[in-house]
């Protein structure tokens, strides 16, 4: 044990190892934070992608920071709700008329300084009336003081007005609604006019208790720090949850495999005879057992649960190539005097295997374990890319699969693939670098070359 601690101290000499260790700790921290910030069930519910959760979000919007790299500024999505009374962009006035009806005026004021048109705008209207439907009219004021009467209509209790789908508006503007509303009339080619816009929603309600709340949702072409996918889901949910999933899958698989392999190799060497022979035979069978196809088969026939796949992965990897390496080392250790001594004072077989044989290989085991983690992290992603990801849990591989099958590469939606890919790469490199450094610390013979 002391030897291990001393070796770990030696790690300080390797800057790459220190950096990767810090990175791994950061990732573990981020995972723990994610698990508490978005509980497991909440993450699964969100990722199922119901309309209710994601209606405010634009489809396939790139992250906001992409504007930093482009001279043509893309519109960022935003929403303004009339319920937010302290928001300076929203103003709500109520007037009572002589006949007892009320006039509610909601004014949204916002700056639009982008070089492209938004995807869509919509008004989400909530009103609890009993029988008399309120009337709503929408007016649009551009920075150059033009006024457009967008529409007037009576509303249901929960109603949505989508600007881009209003053909009448298109005829008034003589253009696609989103272009007509934002375009600068002085320009020949459609170019957005920059400046302060106003949207005035005037509602007439006829019952004393009726409320009227309207939310203006603007779907730009950018959203948030991570962007959104084809189901309007915020990729941040899956990117954040992908971290604990990848780490736990990678670590559990690596731990499960190496430790069982170690113990089995020790048992084989210690008992020898038919036990050893059987283990070697199984290893040989395992070497022609197609690992990935069998996992695919299990995923298709039984269940795609990530935990079942984890179990199968461990079972199929136990009798891997590692067993041969461990066996060769145990063969030498078995002949050592201290084992002879243990045997002579009557130590049990289990005691010798677990306390005297296996601990000797731990220096060899640790680097191997760490280097194995990225392999399994990628295995999970690989299965997801084949469409065999866990159906409920959001993971990085599933984002890549969604992006690929929805043509992200053809349409140039690079953020969709690059974000999970970058996270996968960083995770695997952190473990691989640490593993390499550990290998040098624990196996000094490698240090010279």
């Amino acid at each position: 044990m002391k030897e291990i601690l001393r070796s770990l101290r030696e790690l300080k000499q390797y800057p790459s190892a220190v950096a990767s260790l810090i990175l791994i700790l950061l990732m573990v921290g981020a995972s723990v934070y994610t698990i508490f910030a978005i509980p497991y069930k909440e993450a699964i519910r969100l990722w199922r992608g119901s309309e209710e959760d994601w209606y405010k979000y634009p489809k396939q919007a790139a992250p906001i920071w992409t504007n930093l790299f482009s001279s043509k500024k893309q519109p960022v999505s935003f929403f303004l709700n009339s319920e937010e009374t302290d928001n300076p962009h929203v103003d709500k006035q109520v007037e009572t008329r002589a006949d007892g009806s009320r006039k509610i005026t909601i004014t949204y004021t916002f700056d639009y300084n982008y070089d492209d048109f938004p995807q869509d705008m919509a008004l989400y209207i909530n009103s609890d009336y009993d029988s008399k439907k309120p009337l709503v009219s929408v007016t649009w004021v551009t920075p150059d003081e033009r006024k457009v009467n967008v529409a007037s209509f009576s509303i249901l209790q929960r109603d949505v007005y989508r600007f881009s789908q209003d053909e009448k508006l298109g005829r008034i503007l003589r253009a696609e609604p989103m272009i007509g509303l934002f375009a600068d009339p002085a320009q020949e080619l459609p170019t957005p006019l920059k400046g302060q816009y106003q949207m005035i929603v005037t509602g007439s309600v006829f019952e004393p208790d009726t409320t009227l709340e309207v939310e203006l949702v603007t779907h730009g072409t950018l959203y948030g720090l991570a962007g959104t996918d084809f189901k309007r889901r915020d990729l941040m949910v899956a990117l954040a949850w992908g971290m604990p999933i990848a780490l736990s899958f990678g670590l559990l698989a690596a731990l499960g495999t190496t430790i069982t392999t170690l113990v089995i190799a020790a048992i084989g060497v210690w008992y020898g005879g038919w036990v050893d022979e059987a283990i070697q035979r199984i290893t040989e069978v395992n070497s022609v057992l197609p690992f990935l196809p069998i996992l695919i088969m299990i995923g298709t026939f039984y269940s795609r649960s990530i935990w079942l796949i984890l179990g199968a992965t461990i079972l199929l990897s136990i009798f891997g190539l590692g067993i041969k390496n461990f066996r060769a080392i145990f063969m030498q250790i078995k002949e050592m005097p201290y084992i002879e001594a243990a045997r002579s004072y009557g130590a049990s077989d289990a005691r010798i295997i677990l306390y005297y044989l296996t601990p000797r290989v731990i220096p060899l085991l640790i680097p191997q374990l760490v280097t194995l983690v990225p392999t399994y992290v990628f295995l999970e992603a690989s299965l997801a890319v084949l469409g065999l990801g866990d159906p409920f849990i959001p993971s990085w591989g599933k984002i890549i699969n969604d992006a690929r099958t929805n043509g992200a590469l053809y349409e140039g939606l690079y953020y969709w693939i690059l974000e999970p890919a970058a996270l996968l790469l960083v995770t695997s490199l952190a473990f691989a670098l640490l593993g390499f450094a550990l290998d040098r610390v624990f196996n000094p013979r490698l240090r010279d070359v």
Binding site: S16, L292, P293, F378, V385, L409, Y410, S428
Partner: protein
């Protein structure tokens, strides 16, 4: 196998003069033993595959479906049954299906059924696919799989060759300039090999197909298939670049690092120093004193690479739309085409065993210290 090989080793050592005379016999004996042992492994592996598949009754369902289809078709074609009322016809068909199921042993215990299926699987006699068809329109699983085999072998072979020569070349040149910035660069890049081929593939598609638009996104040949052989090969070569590169990149860094280390270790041996002192040329030293003794370890290493290429195949092929086995596997998963999935698993077991066998031979071929059947294993 080890027991036989051990015997053989003793024989060889006791009668050194007869070595050449019995060479053929020895090779034959060794091959037979090795083949038998591998065949045994394949049989067990396929048996396990069947057991895993049939635990949920999938193979049984498959057989029942096939029996039903043939029985119903035969009954429909039979003129004598035409006059029967529908419910009687149905009952007749049902009894016939039950009888046929009994004949095929579907009512026998699980283990016996599994053995029966294993026999069918070993001969790839897996019946018909549910939805997939081969290019010739056949529904036979065997044909679908065999048709997809050549593209996979092509991709695998080209990547394997490329890997081998790039690795040897780069590793040798790095070992010559040990400690240079290039050497250090490759050492730091070694951890990149934890990333699988498809991952590199996505980046390659992104750069060369989507962004630069110089190479195709995927597929094996251009859409109207070129009719003359030259155009066909050119188109094939163009489509081969990215997948090969992806598979190569996924392995090359770690292997270069490993091989360079082997070369460095062997370059510091005494006999190399003596050769240098004798004034042999660098080339001769490299070829005779460094490369020769390292080849066996290199080949073992390379074996693992090739096996890794097999296992990385399905996903890389899927990403590149390469019409090989892996892509067929992906399609079968999408369609829930059970017979094809089973057949694929079986053929991968065969391919793996074949690779292992081939590499055993190569190993013995390059290392004069190991005679085939001489028993000293890595």
């Amino acid at each position: 196998m080890t027991a036989i090989a051990q015997n053989d080793l003793e024989q060889v050592e006791s009668k050194p003069k007869k070595r050449t005379a019995s060479a053929f016999q020895r090779v034959f004996k060794y091959s037979a033993a090795r083949l038998a042992s591998l065949l045994f492994s394949v049989i067990v592996a396929i048996f396990l595959t069947i057991i895993i598949a049939n635990m949920g009754g999938y193979v049984d369902e498959l057989r029942m479906g096939e029996i039903r289809e043939t029985v119903v078709q035969a009954a429909r074609a039979n003129v004598a049954y035409r006059a029967l009322p529908p419910d009687q016809f149905q009952a007749l068909v049902e009894t016939q299906i039950q009888e046929q199921a009994h004949v095929e042993g579907l009512d026998r215990p699980f283990l016996l059924r599994a053995l029966n299926y294993m026999k069918n699987a070993l001969t790839l006699n897996l019946g018909n696919a549910v939805r997939m068809t081969s290019d010739t329109g056949s529904k036979q699983v065997r044909l679908i799989i065999l048709e997809r085999l050549p593209p996979t072998l092509l991709l695998w072979g080209v990547s394997g060759f490329l890997l081998f020569f790039v690795e040897i070349g780069v590793a040798l040149s790095l070992s010559r300039q040990y400690g240079s910035w290039l050497d250090k660069l490759f050492v730091t890049m070694a951890p990149l090999s934890t990333t699988p081929g498809w991952f590199f593939g996505i980046f390659l598609i992104l750069i060369f197909a989507s962004f630069l638009r110089v190479l195709p996104f995927g597929g094996m040949v251009d859409a109207p298939v070129p009719d003359n052989t030259l155009d066909y090969s050119l188109s094939l070569a163009k489509h081969l670049i990215l997948p090969t590169l992806a598979l190569t990149l996924s392995q090359v860094f770690l292997q270069i690092y490993n091989w360079r280390t082997f070369f460095l270790i062997y370059s510091s041996e005494d006999y190399v120093e003596i050769a240098k002192a004798k004034g042999l040329s660098d080339k001769a030293i490299e070829r005779n004193y460094v490369l020769r003794p390292t080849l066996p370890s290199i080949i073992t290493n390379f074996a693992l690479t090739l096996i890794a290429l097999w296992l990385g195949g399905p996903i890389t092929e899927t990403i590149f739309n390469w019409p090989g086995l892996g892509r067929a596997f992906y399609e079968a998963v999408q369609f829930y085409d059970t017979p094809v999935i089973l057949g694929q698993t079986v053929i991968y077991a065969y391919l793996l065993a074949f690779t292992v066998f081939l590499l055993d031979y190569l190993y013995a071929l390059v290392d004069p210290r190991v005679k085939i059947g001489g028993g000293s294993q890595p």
